[in-house]
């Protein structure tokens, strides 16, 4: 369990990092308390959430009005300028966050450097515009849009912002950035609950926002705070339908276990489950050296990207063998090529892992001796490896696969591959492209949510549904305005005798029941 200790006295002399809270334009560093994650190297000081909690939620939903008074272009102006200020070479806040991330993240320095360097791109004007358009639709975000029904009636539809809490994961800087951008273009109020394994990034962006535009509505609608997940004193004062309307929770059970007890009508949980991803390759398409090399490089990228930390990274790769008698030898060759390409990937994409999971190592070392059943290529120095299954089954510890450990599994047919997918499958990378024809309309029933061309699992556009749902649309409150042309009405006196109350006819549930013919 995380421990909270009063640290007021020792703050000055302490070398522990201070993570400020951000409260609607203000950087807060008062009432510091210390948090330590169990078995975790990270200990930090942050304002006591029990004191801050009263200021976290927006006082009234009507205070969202200032965001809705903004022109969309003004929001883009703000985000673009913010993005420029988050340049890692210029921003001391970003450098601070990066420095602390080095020591606490499971990722290595080159990967962290790259992730921080990428941040301004997310804020680019055209990118944000496209995200807003493709995920929700600018016409709904920026005003009322009429839709006309077959009976001629017209309904105006508008996506209003809502008050949301974002329980973000600790893998890299992008989750915090994503929540801030999504909240801005949906004109939503955003409270970010940071994770104990990465509380810095949201605080860094928040500080930059407070300095450059403390009075701007987007700044005024951001709060960032750390509290221990499950802290009842804090959570029961936030998770109330009159305080917030949406809870966006990444990380599945780890984050929602504390939240579910508060869910009730008026408080919606948008849960982004933890997932695993896979690849599917057709052995028939790897008949010559160059195609096998290409497949190997693509596979190496999908397993290696960000050292296999993201849920979209490939962990098991199924190879459709069509019962080729040489399948085992060919797959071992594919494994060797994949391993070679993995070792040669650019350091901003993939490196030798900072540390290799001990439980996983235990399994891999045991398998290494089981040559009847498996061939293990690489991994002698914890640099990552490829395990070839000789039988058509993934390793029994497939959910532990991480730190650049891939399992190549033979399957007689595509139908056999599909049976291995389940509700925890997210992305499937496919090679060659034509193989998708056999997967697209069937694999989703088994859980697959995203298909990519092999080698692109790490390319998240931000412009599409994610984890099988449309989260940006769900972050909004969808309001409608039914507009009916005036019709001549038949008053009671004029309907003398007409009101036969015949049960044979369907009576409309509106004024249409009594309009004059």
């Amino acid at each position: 369990m995380g421990n909270k200790t009063s640290a007021e006295a020792s703050v000055r002399s302490s070398a522990l990092p201070v993570v400020p809270a951000i409260i609607r334009g203000q950087i807060v560093t008062d009432n510091l308390v210390q948090f330590t994650g169990r078995g975790d190297s990270l200990t930090f000081l942050t304002p006591d959430p029990a004191v801050l909690v009263k200021d976290l939620p927006l006082a009234s939903p009507s205070h969202l009005r200032d965001l809705h008074d903004l022109e969309f272009e003004e929001i883009l102006d703000y985000l673009e300028e913010l993005g420029n200020l988050l340049d890692i070479d210029k921003s001391p806040y970003m450098q601070w966050a990066r420095e602390l991330t080095y020591s606490t993240s499971h990722l290595t320095k080159p990967l962290i450097d790259n992730a921080f360097r990428k941040v301004p791109q997310f804020f680019r004007r055209e990118r944000v515009r496209e995200m807003a358009e493709k995920t929700v639709g600018l016409k709904y975000l920026n005003g009322w849009t009429d839709i006309t029904l077959a009976n001629g009636s017209v309904v105006g539809v508008r996506a209003f912002g809502a008050r949301g809490v974002h329980i973000i994961p600790g893998n890299g800087p992008s989750p915090a950035v994503k929540s801030i951008i999504q909240s801005a273009f949906t004109r939503s109020d955003c409270i970010i609950k940071t994770p104990s394994n990465g509380p810095f990034m949201a605080a860094a962006v928040g500080q930059v926002m407070c300095e450059f535009a403390p009075e701007h509505p987007v700044t005024k609608h951001l709060a960032v705070c750390y509290w221990r997940g499950g802290d009842v004193d804090v959570e029961q004062r936030i998770y109330q339908p009159h305080k917030v309307e949406k809870i966006v929770a990444y990380g599945g059970f780890a984050s929602v276990k504390h939240v579910t007890r508060y869910i009730q009508p008026g408080l919606e949980l948008i849960s982004l489950d933890p997932k695993n991803s896979a690849s599917v390759l057709d052995l028939a398409a790897l008949s010559d050296e160059s195609s096998m090399r290409e497949a190997a490089l693509r596979l190496a990228v999908d397993m290696g990207v960000s050292n296999q930390q993201p849920c979209s990274s490939a962990r098991v790769a199924y190879v459709v063998t069509h019962k080729d008698p040489h399948a085992e030898a060919l797959m071992t060759r594919l494994a060797r090529f994949t391993y070679e390409e993995l070792i040669g990937l650019p350091s901003g994409l993939s490196t030798t892992p900072k540390s290799y999971d001990g439980e996983l190592r235990s399994h891999v070392q045991s398998l290494r001796l089981q040559e009847d059943f498996y061939t293990v290529v690489g991994g002698e120095a914890d640099e990552g490896c490829v395990i070839v299954s000789h039988l058509p089954d993934p390793v029994d510890f497939k959910h532990l696969l991480a730190d650049r450990t891939l399992n190549l599994v033979p399957a007689d047919s595509v139908a056999d591959v599909i049976l291995n997918f389940d509700s925890y499958t997210q992305t499937v990378g496919v090679f060659p492209e034509s193989l998708k024809d056999q997967l697209l309309d069937i694999a989703p029933f088994y859980g697959v949510q995203r298909f990519v061309s092999l080698g692109y699992s790490g390319e998240h556009t931000g412009c599409t549904p994610h984890d099988g749902l449309e989260m940006e649309r769900r972050m909004c409150k969808w309001v409608i305005n039914q507009k009916i042309e005036p019709v001549p009405l038949a008053y009671a006196a004029s309907r003398d005798g007409a009101a036969s109350d015949s049960t044979a006819e369907v009576v409309p549930s509106s004024l249409r029941a009594v309009h004059a013919h």
């Binding site: 104990s196 997940g229 933890p274 045991s366 059943f373 532990l400 859980g447």
Partner: protein, 467 residues
């Protein structure tokens, strides 16, 4: 040369028959001087390696890979320790397909016992396979089922089981510093067990009751059938992955699902009968072996009825095993002590070791001298110094077994005192009481990532079904 041969002979007795080497005395086992212990251990270790590198295929294979040809110092054996996952390193699909021929081949590489002639043609279940192995060889292979539905198989010979049970009798009935009594050496004891695997029933029961079957009091409300245990684990794993309808077990086993359900229904009744039976053992000598949670449950239920269980002469409750995922209050032992005047001893053990390490009067788990402990870095698994107090991944070489390789790296993190004398007076090496699973010790609190883990699934299932 003669002196050398004498030493070798002594070491041979020490490792193959510790029971008689130490005159069936628990005190003698834990009073060996550190230098004698080191000498005996090194002799025995070198001898074990020299033989088993040829006799056990996987040991030979590992030695080739690691380039190890002899053992001159205890630490030379560290690259030769098996991972604890070794005994479940076969593809589970073999079990799903009832491919016992290949499973037998796999097992045969982990033991010097020849399993080549075991007839598996008519094996339609795990139970039958283990039965065939026991019928056709000296082995009585143990099994245990993991939370994700994996199953490990561990080869011990029948003779070793008998020896283990007799060692257990010595360790559990006797107290350090006291000469063994005639009763402790030769009298039958009543035996109460809540963990009722076949070893308890067949070997431990014999060692305590000396063949008096009416003195066995086994908890019936526990599934003993190894196939049903595996089915239960597979059902849980399938539900946790969101595929409750896709349970990969043979149809013949799936059709036995109703037996599991029936067990759940009957268990309260069976427990009531069992509790009544053991309640009456207040004036006879009795040994209990029980999981902490089970004992706590009995004690707290008894206390709430105002009961107090008296113990007969020389009786003892031996509590081993973790909480098995149940919530156990910190003061569970106090609750037990308010409920009974039994002597309560806790132990740290695992199926892979020849002895459970029992807690002493100073609260430390003592390692018998035929087990050589190692402390490894919990992250890299590199060897840490073999002196002073070290906290790390627990690894050991158990010198007693012949039926399998004694070197193993466990999944536990412990604190070992390699050379400090214990306050209890024993000279043996000892472990601090706070033993934790490596995965627990290294897991963080309130850490959130987007990649799924089996633990998260299992926890989520437990949580969802608890509502």
């Amino acid at each position: 040369m003669t002196a050398e041969r004498g030493k070798a002979k002594t070491a041979e007795l020490f490792m193959t028959d510790p029971l008689n080497y130490f005159d069936r005395s628990y005190t003698k086992m834990h009073s060996l001087s550190p230098s004698d212990r080191s000498d005996l251990q090194l002799h025995a270790l070198s001898a074990r390696f020299a033989v088993q590198v040829h006799d056990i295929a996987m040991v030979g294979r590992l030695a080739d890979r690691q380039g190890i040809t002899s053992v001159e110092r205890p630490e030379d054996i560290v690259p030769m320790l098996f991972e604890h996952t070794m005994y479940k390193s076969y593809p589970m699909a073999l079990l799903e397909r009832l491919d016992f021929a290949r499973l037998t081949t796999w097992l045969g590489k982990l033991t010097p016992v020849d399993v080549g002639n075991v007839n598996v043609d008519r094996c339609g279940s795990i139970q039958q396979w283990l039965g065939s192995l026991a019928a056709d060889t000296d082995l009585d292979v143990g099994s245990s089922s993991g939370t994700t539905g994996t199953m490990s198989f561990f080869p011990w010979s029948k003779q070793e089981h008998v020896a283990k049970a007799e060692l257990a009798r010595v360790a559990r009935l006797q107290e350090f510093g006291k000469e063994p009594t005639q009763d402790q050496l030769t009298k039958p004891y009543h035996f109460v067990a809540s963990n009722v695997g076949k070893y308890s029933r067949n070997y431990f029961a014999q060692a305590y009751t000396l063949g008096h079957s009416e003195m066995m009091h086994m908890r019936a409300a526990r599934v003993q059938d190894v196939d049903l245990l595996w089915l239960a684990a597979r059902l849980r794993a399938a539900a946790a992955s969101g595929n409750a309808d896709r349970v990969s077990v043979p149809d013949s086993l799936l059709s036995r699902r109703s037996e599991l359900e029936a067990f759940g229904v009957q268990s309260a009744e069976l427990d009531a009968v069992w509790l009544q039976e053991i309640e009456s053992l207040s004036d006879v000598s009795t040994v209990w072996t029980i999981f902490p949670y089970d004992l706590y449950q009995i004690a707290s239920a008894g206390l709430s009825k105002g009961d107090f269980w008296k113990s007969g002469p020389g009786s003892v409750m031996v509590v081993t095993g973790g909480s098995k995922g149940r919530a156990l209050p910190k003061d569970w032992l106090d609750t037990v002590k308010r409920f009974t005047d039994y002597r309560v001893v806790t132990g740290y053990g695992m199926t892979e070791a020849s002895a459970v390490f029992l807690n002493c009067s100073a609260g430390r788990y003592h390692i018998p001298p035929w087990v050589i402990p190692f402390s490894l870095n919990p992250i890299t698994s590199e060897l840490q110094p073999r002196h002073g107090v070290q906290r790390g991944r627990f690894a050991f070489f158990d010198l007693m077994p012949v039926s399998h390789w004694g070197g193993l790296m466990s999944g536990d993190e412990v604190e070992i005192d390699f050379d400090g004398l214990c306050d209890c007076g024993a000279t043996s090496q000892h472990i601090a009481p706070d033993v934790v699973r490596l995965s627990e010790a290294r897991g963080g609190d309130d850490k959130i990532t987007c990649a799924a883990t089996p633990e998260a699934h299992a926890q989520a299932m437990a949580f969802l079904t608890a509502y």
